[in-house]
């Protein structure tokens, strides 16, 4: 027995030593600054987690790489520097990563949020809409005018999911609540983010959410106008504690570390990895002081119900903007239609084009 234990320990130690020696190199490409308090910082937090938890791993990164041929050069540089795994973290990197995956079959590519795979390219994403549904409850309770605003980069399925989830969450406690959507047309355009918030506030909105790369400009604008805010991508509560309700943030570290470990072990398989609240890849942000104890309890109960599979965000009845019944009572929107979300639910003001 003790012999068995000893040999196991030996093997473990050897394994650790071997991986420390092998020292797999992992590259990260970011579309913005890694300290943006948003999308890119969430990815970089994952990188730091990998650096800390996977023995012997070496990570490097490139910031501010636009979604054009420059990302190909950036990734080839990394491959030239010996990176064996590349996290292509931005949505628009996918076509470039797919091309490179063909050229470098010995390198493993991981793309965030993509809908295509290759033998050496996998994807990872998480159902943030679950956290957005819960944030919607906080927003629905907090709004006095019944009007919530949302600053969105582009009308892509992931963002439409977030907006619908907020509306459904808010309406579950405040049936007349609406969500007004403004598109900035850019992942990173702080001036437009601020202008969008001002326009929304002028229309009577008193809670705002966002899905742009850095939530910070929206939060700062909300602070200036004295309205409440729900966050995204990263826990930015410290920017505006008084107005912070809650929000959703990514916890990519465990997924990324698992990917790196499986590549090292030779067990990695190309697949779409989907996290959610239950897996811990999407998280509900801490509550701000503006959320009362009763609302907190309601939200935490519903969080548990989602994690236990008892509550589905897309359970009927769900009506589209124009009143058409999309999901009957007792039904659930199929996963394929969630992934390809192309409609707004009732109470959302804005269009999906």
């Amino acid at each position: 027995m003790s012999k068995y234990f000893l040999s196991l320990l030996c093997a473990l130690a050897l394994g650790v030593a071997a991986s420390a020696q092998a020292g797999i190199k992992v590259g990260y490409v970011y579309v913005g600054a890694k300290s943006d308090g948003g999308y890119n910082q969430a990815q970089d937090t994952g990188r730091l987690y990998v650096q800390k938890t996977v023995p012997g791993v070496a990570t490097n990164f490139l910031e501010n790489v636009p979604e054009n041929a420059q990302v190909t050069q950036a990734m080839e540089r990394m491959i030239g520097a010996g990176d064996k795994i590349i996290f292509a973290t931005s949505y628009g990197y996918l076509p470039y990563a797919l091309e490179l995956a063909k050229k470098y079959p010995q390198v493993t590519f991981m793309h965030c949020g993509g809908a295509k795979l290759a033998p050496n390219l996998g994807t990872y994403f998480a159902d943030m809409f679950e956290a957005m549904y819960l944030s919607g409850i906080a927003a629905g309770k907090a709004t006095k005018t019944g009007r919530i605003g949302f600053v969105a980069a582009h009308p892509i399925p992931q963002i439409l999911q977030d907006i619908n989830a907020i509306a459904l969450g808010a309406q579950s406690v405040n049936p007349k609540a609406t969500v007004t959507v403004v598109y900035t047309g850019a992942w990173n355009d702080p001036a437009k983010d601020v202008a969008a918030v001002n326009t929304l506030v002028d229309q009577g909105i008193d809670v705002v959410g966002m899905h742009v790369d850095s939530p910070v400009p929206v939060i700062e604008a909300a602070k200036k106008r004295g309205i409440k805010v729900i966050g995204y991508h990263f826990n930015d509560e410290s920017f505006y504690p008084q107005g912070w309700l809650t929000g959703g943030y990514w916890n990519w570290g465990p997924i990324m570390a698992a990917v790196v470990r499986s590549v090292e072990a030779g067990t990695w398989k190309s697949q779409p990895i989907y996290g959610n609240l239950k897996s811990g890849a999407a998280k509900l942000a801490p509550f701000g002081p503006a959320v009362d104890a009763q609302t907190r309890k309601l939200i935490l109960d519903k969080e548990k119900a989602i994690e236990d599979g008892k509550l589905n965000v897309w359970a009927g009845p769900i009506y589209a903007q124009d009143g058409k019944l999309m999901v009957p009572k007792g039904g659930v929107l199929p996963r394929g239609q969630v992934d390809a979300m192309s409609f707004f639910v009732k109470g959302v003001i804005g269009n999906t084009q």
Binding site: G27, A33, N60, F61, L62, E63, N64, P66, E67, N68, A69, Q70, Q73, A74, E76, R77, M78, G80, A81, G92, L94, P95, A115, K116, H154, I156, P157
Partner: protein
């Protein structure tokens, strides 16, 4: 001896670039040193990242081409005193017009495709350059303002096209046209692992041709006269309007060529973010080179190398991206500063 023309020439031709480079290296070394990075190592890293291996040279050349063409597109109007900041917009509009040819007949043979694509791109660039030229010549509207505004317009038009009518549905929401077919690409040159395309030597030939055309013909003196004294020029029978429009249109063509190369050979699609700001980098290079077509060639290469080394600096030296921008700024400050000091000293 005191006013020996050879010495003056030497001072102009050698001292300014040499002193400028020295000042630049000193400033950059100080900057790195005080930020806690060993300057010597960083400089070696920059050189390696720009020219150290076949891959680095390939990316450097890829960036040199649009910078070179956009610098030429800035220098030419400057020769007659026009300050055009419009290379960025001309690049975009040239790419837009050239793409129209590709999308109209994607199955055409290379013999038809390349000339048609090139011709439309040149025409598009020329049109985008000619608009501020006409406004300047006919109404006296400031060309700097018009070129800046037209940049935004061209970029928005490209965005409209690739988000709207020209978006390839198979892209899954990614805003871009379909991939350009192989027939719509400038033929590749490959040598020892370094890859480029024929547009690059062509651009160098264009720079030399402009040098001959402007420095060694009467056109150059006509442009110089138009810049320094338009009234005398008019008395000498040199008309402002046709020169202004032609020069701006020709400049637009150069940037338009850069645009279609970006779309066809670099990005392989028409898409937003086509240029990475090459129009503006080209503008700075033209002013660094004192609007000399010959000096633009090496300076474009240096700037291309600096931009290409940016990735390597981040990866190997763990330097934040912003350092590259600081380096660029230091280069401009040093060369322009030394140049300005030199001309002040000459006047004194």
């Amino acid at each position: 001896m005191k006013n020996s023309p050879i010495l003056t020439l030497l001072a102009d031709r050698l001292m300014v670039p040499l002193l400028g480079t020295t000042v630049f290296i000193a400033l950059a070394a100080a900057f790195f040193h005080f930020n806690g990075y060993p300057p010597g190592k960083i400089f070696v890293q920059i050189l390696k990242g720009a020219f150290g291996d076949a891959f680095s040279i390939t990316t450097t050349l890829g960036k040199t081409l649009p910078i070179l063409l956009c610098a030429l597109a800035t220098a030419l109007p400057a020769r007659m005193g026009l300050i055009s900041v419009g290379a960025e917009g001309q690049l975009y509009f040239g790419a837009l017009a050239g793409t129209a040819a590709v999308l109209a007949h994607p199955e055409a043979s290379a013999w038809l495709m390349l000339p048609a694509m090139l011709a439309l791109a040149l025409l598009g660039g020329a049109l985008w350059g000619a608009i501020p030229g006409v406004l300047r010549a006919a109404l006296g509207v400031n060309e700097t303002i018009v070129t800046i505004l037209l940049n935004y317009l061209a970029i928005k038009l490209v965005e409209y096209a690739v988000y709207g009518p020209w978006k390839d549905p198979s892209n899954l929401g990614w805003p871009a046209t379909m991939a350009f077919p192989g027939t719509a690409q400038f033929p590749a040159i490959a040598c020892d692992g370094v890859a480029s395309n024929w547009a690059l030597p062509f651009a160098v030939v264009l720079a030399l041709a402009l040098f001959v055309l402007v420095e060694k013909s009467r056109l150059g003196s006509a442009l110089a006269l138009l810049r320094s004294n338009p009234r005398v020029a008019r008395l000498a029978g040199i008309r402002y309007a046709p020169h202004c429009i032609a020069v701006m249109a020709l400049a637009g063509m150069l940037a338009g060529l850069a645009g279609i190369v970006q779309a066809a050979n670099v990005q392989n699609h028409l898409q937003p973010d086509l240029s990475s700001g090459y129009g503006y980098v080209g503008f700075l290079v033209a002013w660094l080179a004192g609007q000399s077509f010959l000096r633009i060639i090496p300076l474009a290469l240096v700037m291309g190398g600096l931009l290409s080394a940016a990735d390597a600096l981040q990866l190997f030296a763990q330097l934040p991206y912003a350092n590259t921008l600081v380096l660029q700024a230091l280069l401009f400050i040093s060369v322009l500063g030394v140049g300005a000091a030199r001309s002040k000293w000459r006047r004194a």
